[in-house]
C-alpha cells in the first residue's frame, strides 16, 4: 500500500540507508542492536578484558558471594565459584563460547545452506526433488537427537556439538534459500536478463543474491538465537563444552548442586543467555519490521 504524500519528493536513497532509517526508528530494535554489538565485542576481546584469570583457582576465596552482599569483595563483582574462580571473568570468557560459537555455527550453516540452496533452487526435475526429500528427513530429526547421535559417534565436546547444531540448522536454511530463489526466478526481470544472454551464474550473482539478502539476514538472526539456546542446552546436559570451559550452559549445570548456597551463580549465567537471545531476537524482529516498511514506502 502506498501512502499519501504531501510533497512529491523523490526517495532515491540506497536500500541499505532506507533500511537503517526504518530500523533506527524502533527503540526496542536499537536496544537489541546495542546489546548485540556489546556481546559481539566482548566475545572478540574476552581474553583481554577479564579482570582475573577465568581458570585461576584461589583457595582462600571459595564461594565468595556477589559484591552487593555484605560478605562480598568489590574485586569480585559476581563472587567466586566452589573452586575459587572469579565468576565475572568466567562469564566474560563464556561469551566467546556461547555467543561467539553461535555466530560461527550460523555463519557456517549459512554458507553451506547458500551453496546447497542455490544448487537446489537453480536445478530442476528429479535432481531437485530427490534433494528435497532428503532435506525433509533431515528436518524431522530433532536437533537434540541429532546432537546425541553425533556425540555418541565422535564423543562430547564444544566443537562436536557445533557440527551437530550446524547440521540441525542447515535444512531450514536450504529450504528457505531455495524457496526465495524460486520466487525470484519467476520475476519478469530475470526473464529479461536471460533474454539479454545472461547465464545461470550471472542471474544468480547479479539478480538473485542482491534480492534475497534481506531474507537471508532474517533467517540468520533467527538461527543465531536457536544456536545460542542449543549450545547452552547441550552444555547444560554435559554434551557440549567440557569441564574447565566456562560456557554459560555448562556453568549453570556446574553450580546446580550449589543452588542453595549460591543461587546467583545459577541465576546470572541464565540471565546472560536470556539477554543474548533476546538481543538477537529484538534485532531480527526490528529488521523484519524495517524491511516491511521499506517495501511499503
Amino acid at each position: 500500500m502506498s501512502k499519501f504524500r504531501l510533497y512529491l519528493e523523490e526517495n532515491n536513497r540506497s536500500p541499505l540507508k532506507q533500511l537503517w532509517r526504518e530500523f533506527r526508528r524502533q527503540h526496542s530494535a536499537m536496544t537489541g542492536l546495542i546489546l548485540f554489538i556489546s556481546f559481539f565485542v566482548i566475545s572478540l576481546l574476552a581474553p583481554f578484558v577479564t579482570p582475573h584469570d577465568p581458570y585461576l583457582q584461589v583457595d582462600e576465596l571459595l564461594l565468595l558471594p556477589p559484591s552487593w552482599s555484605a560478605a562480598g569483595l568489590v574485586q569480585y563483582p559476581f563472587g567466586t565459584d566452589d573452586l575459587g574462580r572469579d565468576l565475572l571473568s568466567r562469564m566474560i570468557k563464556g561469551t566467546s563460547y556461547t555467543f561467539g560459537f553461535a555466530l560461527i555455527t550460523v555463519a557456517g550453516a549459512l554458507l553451506m545452506g547458500l551453496l546447497l540452496g542455490a544448487l537446489a533452487g537453480m536445478s530442476k526435475g528429479v535432481k531437485s526433488s530427490i534433494f528435497n526429500h532428503i532435506l525433509d528427513l533431515a528436518l524431522t530429526i530433532p536437533s537434540l537427537l541429532l546432537a546425541i547421535i553425533i556425540v555418541a559417534i565422535i564423543g562430547p565436546g564444544l566443537m562436536n556439538t557445533t557440527w551437530a547444531i550446524m547440521l540441525a540448522l542447515l535444512p531450514q536454511f536450504v529450504h528457505g534459500i531455495r524457496n526465495a530463489i524460486d520466487e525470484e526466478l519467476k520475476q519478469d526481470y530475470v526473464v529479461a536478463y536471460r533474454l539479454d544472454g545472461a547465464n545461470d551464474w550471472h542471474v544468480f550473482s547479479r539478480l538473485i543474491l542482491p534480492n534475497i539478502w534481506e531474507k537471508l539476514t532474517i533467517m540468520a538472526t533467527m538461527a543465531i538465537s536457536t544456536a545460542i539456546l542449543d549450545i547452552a542446552a547441550l552444555g547444560f546436559l554435559g554434551f557440549g563444552a567440557q569441564a574447565p570451559l566456562s560456557e554459560w550452559g555448562a556453568m549453570i549445570s556446574d553450580s546446580l548442586d550449589l543452588i542453595y548456597l549460591a543461587p546467583s551463580s545459577v541465576a546470572i549465567p541464565g540471565l546472560l543467555i536470556f539477554t543474548a537471545v533476546l538481543s538477537v531476537n529484538l534485532v531480527g524482529d526490528g529488521l523484519k519490521t524495517a524491511i516491511l516498511k521499506r517495501r511499503q514506502s
Partner: protein
C-alpha cells in the same frame, strides 16, 4: 486429492527408507563391537558370537545385513538395552506414553493461550495490549528452557513448597498400568483414592506442562498475529466490510478461517522442536519419558537404545508431519498443487 495422497505416501515411503538406512548405519558408526551394538548383549561367549553373526548375517554382504535389519525391526526384535538388559521395544512402550502425554498437554495449552492472544494482538497491533502481548511473546521466545524450568522449581517447589519438582505422581499412589497415560489410567483404575491420585498427578503435571508450553505458545502468538495482520490487508476482507458485515462477522467468516489455516501446518513444523524441548523438560523434572531415557543412554554409552530412540522419535515426527500436511491440504485445496 487422491493424487495428492498417493504422492505424499510415496514421499513418506522414501523418507522412511532413508531413515532406516541412517539407523542401520549407526550400529557400524558407533564405537565398540558390532555384535554387541546390534544385540545389546554385554557378555558374549564364542559360541554365542558365532550364532549371533549368522543371525545378523554379518558374514554376508552389506545389502543382506540391511535386509536382515529391516526384517528384525518389522518383527519387533530391536535388541536389548545395554543398561537394563531388557528388550528395547518393551522399554520404549513403557516410556513413550509419558512423553506423549506431556507434549500433547503442552501443545493443547499453547493453542488455548496462544491463538486468542495472537488474535487480540493482531486486532490492535499498536495499542498497549497488542504491544505488551508481542513483548511477552518475545520474552518467552528468548527464555532458555532449562533455566526457566529451574527458576520455576526454585520458586514454586523450593521456596513456596506448593508443587512437586520431580516425577509423574507421588510414590504413595500405586496406579495399575494399562495405557501408560497417567490421567487416563487413574480414571480407569478401580481404586478408592482416585480423586486424591488425580489431584496429585495434576500437581506433578502442572510445572512441566507450563515450562514445555512456553516456547510453542509464544511461537503460536507471533504466528497467529502475523497471519492475522496479513489476512486483514487482503482485498476480500475489504469486500466483506464493504458488503456491510460487521467486524465480528468478518473476523469469524473470513479472517479466522484464512488466518488459522497455516496453523495446522505449523504444528507439524514445530513438532520436532517440541520434542527437543520435551527432552530437556524431562531431564529437569525427572519425568520418566523417552527423552530423559535417551539422554541417560548417552551417559551410559547405551548405543542400541540411541538407535531405537532415533527410529521411534523420527517415525513419530515424520508421521505427525505428514498428517498435518495432509490435513492442511484437505482444508486448503490450494496446497494440493505443486
Amino acid at each position: 486429492m487422491t493424487r495428492y495422497l498417493l504422492r505424499r505416501l510415496f514421499l513418506m515411503a522414501f523418507v522412511f527408507l532413508a531413515l532406516s538406512l541412517l539407523a542401520f548405519s549407526l550400529s557400524y558408526l558407533f564405537p565398540g563391537d558390532i555384535v554387541q551394538n546390534l544385540s545389546g548383549l554385554r557378555q558374549i561367549d564364542d559360541s554365542q558370537r558365532q550364532q549371533l553373526i549368522s543371525y545378523y548375517q554379518l558374514d554376508h554382504n552389506i545389502l543382506q545385513q540391511y535386509l536382515a535389519f529391516l526384517t528384525r525391526i518389522a518383527h519387533g526384535d530391536w535388541g536389548q538395552s545395554f543398561a537394563s538388559q531388557q528388550p528395547l521395544l518393551q522399554e520404549i512402550q513403557l516410556l513413550l506414553p509419558a512423553t506423549l502425554e506431556l507434549a500433547s498437554y503442552a501443545l493443547l495449552l499453547s493453542f488455548v493461550i496462544g491463538i486468542p492472544l495472537g488474535i487480540v494482538a493482531a486486532f490492535k497491533p499498536d495499542s498497549f495490549v497488542g504491544k505488551s502481548i508481542s513483548a511477552i511473546a518475545m520474552v518467552g521466545y528468548s527464555l532458555p528452557i532449562f533455566w526457566w524450568g529451574l527458576l520455576l522449581i526454585m520458586f514454586f517447589s523450593l521456596a513456596l513448597g506448593l508443587l512437586p519438582s520431580a516425577g509423574r505422581i507421588g510414590v504413595l499412589y500405586e496406579i495399575p498400568h494399562s495405557s501408560g497415560f497417567m490421567l487416563y489410567d487413574i480414571l480407569l483404575a478401580d481404586i478408592d483414592y482416585r480423586s486424591e491420585a488425580l489431584y496429585n498427578a495434576l500437581q506433578h503435571l502442572l510445572l512441566p506442562t507450563i515450562v514445555l508450553a512456553t516456547f510453542p505458545t509464544t511461537v503460536m502468538i507471533s504466528f497467529v498475529r502475523d497471519a492475522m495482520l496479513n489476512v486483514w490487508e487482503q482485498n476480500y476482507i475489504k469486500t466483506a466490510r464493504a458488503k456491510g458485515l460487521n467486524r465480528g462477522q468478518v473476523l469469524y467468516r473470513h479472517g479466522l478461517r484464512n488466518a488459522l489455516l497455516p496453523v495446522i501446518r505449523q504444528i507439524g513444523l514445530q513438532f520436532s522442536t517440541l520434542i527437543t524441548l520435551a527432552m530437556l523438560t524431562e531431564v529437569i523434572f525427572s519425568w520418566p519419558g523417552i527423552g530423559r531415557w535417551l539422554i541417560d543412554s548417552i551417559y551410559q554409552r547405551n548405543y542400541p537404545a540411541i538407535q531405537a530412540g532415533l527410529l521411534v522419535i523420527s517415525t513419530m515426527v515424520i508421521t505427525i508431519n505428514m498428517l498435518t500436511e495432509i490435513l492442511h491440504a484437505f482444508f486448503n485445496p490450494l496446497a494440493r498443487r505443486g
